[in-house]
Amino acid sequence: MNSKDEELQRLLSAAAKTKVEAAVEPPLVLETRVLAQWRAGRADDDSASLVAFFRHALVGASLVLVLSAVWSLSQPTGGTAGDEAALLNYEIQRGLNP
C-alpha cells in the first residue's frame, strides 16, 4: 500500500467512526403525508376496480346484444303470412286503381 492509499484509508477509517444520525421516531408531518398518500392510492385502487367492473359489464351487455341479434335473425319469422297479405293488398290496390 503506498502513502496515498494509507492516507485515504486513514481518512475513511476516521469518517466511519462518525455515525449518521437518523431519528427513530418518524416526524408526525411525514407520517401524515405518507398515510394520506396511501389512502389516496387505495381510493385509486377502488376507482380502478369500479372501472374494471363497468368494462366487464359493457363487454357482457355487448355479447348479449350480439347473441340476441343472431338469435332473432336465425329464428323463422311469420314472414310467409305477412308476404301473402302484402300481395293481396297490392292486388286489391291495383284492382281499385287500374
Binding site: K4, L11, A14, A15, T18, P26, L30, R33
Partner: protein, 202 residues
C-alpha cells in the same frame, strides 16, 4: 458500526401479519408498518442522500413505492431487505438525475476539514477523534464526485462497515460484481483524493 440488516426486526412485531393487514387496506397496520420501517429507511436515505433532495421527500417517495408494490412482496427475502433495495434504488435514481458533479477544490474545504486532511497526511495516529466529523464531511465531498453506484458501494463498505454479503442483500447485485465495482470505485476515490491533495500543493 451499523446494525446488521438481520437485526432490524423488532421483537414482538409480526411483519408478515402486518403486511397482510396492510394488503387488506387496514390503516392502523399501514401506520404500524411505516413506524417499523422508518428508522431503516431514514438511515439509508441519509447515508445516500442526493444533494438537492430533502431527506423527508425521499423517505416519502420510498414509502409510496413500498406501499404501491406491497402486493408484489413475495416474502422470499425479509421485508427489511426488500425495502432496503427500494430505498437504495430510489436514492440511486435520484443521484443519477443530478448529473452535474461540481469539482471539489481545496478552497471549498472549511478550516476544520483542511486541518483534518493535514492530520491525515502527517502520519498515523495524528488525526484527533474530534476531527472525525470533518473527515466524514471530506469523504462525503469526495464521494459526491463519483458515480451513484460507486458512491453507494463505498458508503456501504467503508463508511457503514457492511460485509459483501450484506451489500448483496441490500443491493441485489451478485458478489463478483460487488467486488469488481468496489475495487474500481476505490481507485476512482483515490484519484479524487490525489487531485484534492495536488490542489493543496499548488
Amino acid at each position: 458500526m451499523v446494525a446488521p440488516l438481520s437485526a432490524m426486526p423488532k421483537p414482538g412485531f409480526d411483519v408478515t401479519a402486518c403486511v397482510e393487514r396492510v394488503r387488506r387496506q387496514d390503516e392502523e397496520a399501514a401506520r404500524a408498518l411505516f413506524r417499523h420501517l422508518y428508522p431503516l429507511v431514514a438511515r439509508l436515505v441519509r447515508s445516500h442522500l442526493p444533494r438537492r433532495t430533502s431527506p423527508e421527500d425521499l423517505v416519502q417517495i420510498v414509502f409510496m413505492k413500498v406501499f404501491a408494490n406491497l402486493d408484489r412482496f413475495s416474502g422470499a427475502v425479509p421485508l427489511e431487505h426488500w425495502v432496503s433495495r427500494i430505498a437504495i434504488n430510489t436514492c440511486l435514481n435520484q443521484l443519477a438525475a443530478e448529473k452535474a458533479r461540481p469539482e471539489l477544490r481545496w478552497a471549498d474545504l472549511s478550516e476544520e476539514q483542511t486541518d483534518a486532511l493535514e492530520a491525515v497526511t502527517a502520519g498515523p495516529d495524528v488525526l484527533d477523534p474530534s476531527q472525525n466529523l470533518a473527515a466524514r464531511e471530506i469523504v462525503e465531498k469526495l464521494l459526491a464526485q463519483l458515480a451513484p453506484a460507486d458512491r453507494l458501494l463505498l458508503t456501504l463498505l467503508h463508511l457503514e462497515g457492511r460485509t459483501v454479503e450484506e451489500v448483496r442483500q441490500i443491493t441485489g447485485w451478485n458478489v463478483p460484481v460487488i467486488k469488481v465495482r468496489a475495487f474500481r470505485a476505490r481507485r476512482k476515490l483515490r484519484k479524487e483524493f490525489e487531485k484534492l491533495m495536488a490542489a493543496r500543493a499548488r
